[in-house]
């Protein structure tokens, strides 16, 4: 379980579930969370592959600075998963997979 519940200090968040797809699969996410957080909560760390050597890449800086987490969202390339919130029915794809 990647989601943090029963935090000793922080009260639980009010969460409204939405559905997103990543590489063709449906996942549950919550409104107001970033794409990177939602995918990680679903045990997904590999967000894309590097252009040259096809090495896996995931979230690094978390503030939109390093661009390591870029994904294709609803057909738009290189959207930063760390500073873009999920939306219901959002289609996310990882970039530069060999089969993509």
């Amino acid at each position: 379980m990647m989601r943090i519940t029963d935090h000793p200090i922080l009260e639980d968040l009010e969460k409204r579930p939405v559905t997103i797809t990543f590489n063709g699969m449906d996942y549950q996410a919550y409104e107001g969370e970033s794409i990177a957080a939602a995918l990680l909560a679903n045990h997904i760390r590999v967000l894309r592959y590097s252009e040259k050597n096809r090495e896996p890449r995931g979230i690094y800086c978390g503030i939109g600075h390093c661009y390591e987490c870029r994904v294709t969202v609803d057909g738009k390339r290189s959207v930063r998963a760390c500073i873009t919130n999920v939306q219901d029915q959002m289609h996310i794809e990882s970039q530069d997979r060999d089969d993509s």
Binding site: M2, L10, L40, G62, G64
Partner: protein
Amino acid sequence: MKYDLIVIGAGPAGMSGAIKAASYGAKVAIIDENPSVGGKLLGQLHKEPKSGWWHGRKIAREMETNLRQTEVTCFQGKEVWAIYPRWKVLMNNGEELQSEYVLIASGATEKAIPVPGWTLPGAMAVGAAQTLTNYHRVKPGNKVAVIGVDPLSLSVAHQLKLAGVHVVGIFLPPNNEFSKDKSTPSQMISYLSSMAHAAPNIFLKFAGNMAKYPFVQQVGAKFYPWFGIRIWGTPLYLRKTVLEISGAEQVEHIKVAPVSQEGIPNEDRVKTVDVDCVCISGGLYPLTELAGAVGCESVYIEELGGHIPLHSPEMETTQPGIFVAGNITGIESAKVAMEQGNLAGTAVAAKLGLVSYKLIEEAQKNVTQARDNAVITFQQNIGKGREKSQQYWKEYYSKGGEAICRQLMLS
């Protein structure tokens, strides 16, 4: 669209500046590339000695309400792509805002310490782990190693523990030209001792107390146990380094080696530890690109964390009308950033003729007070850094720098 003030960056400094100026009657816009306002405030969580838990997300929400109440126009999820004289702010959607006054509060970013294998998914900056844990409430990993010993990494290690994450240890970074002193046990112990005068969590407090005694400082590195010292169940390894991060598609292991007092690893005693996440912490530096692009003069001040835009005691840069506040002026806590924002907001309101210049002095006192009472100090000798900054400004000003700038602007 014309405004009295355009604020860039909706973290603690930018929001404070916007709210302050707007509360005096200025028409203010604030721009931030994130979907929510708050900046790094959103992930902060520590205990204040007098007021209890500092819950960044909650404070950001309160400030968001204040932004609304003072009728500040918020451009969220928008990037600033250019600032033209004097001054037009161009956003990535093509929209252009105009104002005589711009407050750049772009904050800071993390210094990277490269570690072999650090591009694997699961290796991340310690600040990313902080936001995931405290803001999104998602564990960055189930078994986490922290690399780098500094106030931020120790705070985040504590926050990970609070959230129920297993932290396998806090390690020194590998010795390379990016880590420098941060990979040397003896340097780290004396550094920790200088940072812990008012530590807000058990990790920082412990590290500071351990190093407070001269005896420990001198021989600490030599006698610091190889197996680390456990703080609340998490080992702090000041004699161990991470040589490599490995895994097929994502982080699966780290290779750990003991190091000499001087930071040289013993390659014969390498151990493999299973982890699924590695948080790397190399410290913070001011994010000044935008100020640089506008032509603001900058200076390098080690004590403040790097290059900063030269600025007056009222927070105005060498470009008339361009103000700065928060971590772009040096790495300090959110409370200091807020007071700097208040100061910049007050100074702009005074220039606009909305309030008396006398209020600036009071705002300056509040900055100093916040600095003196700071619970977390990120830099050694911050006061000295601030003195240097003021000295550089005086020198620049006495050489007619401002006049030179104005001439350049007109030509």
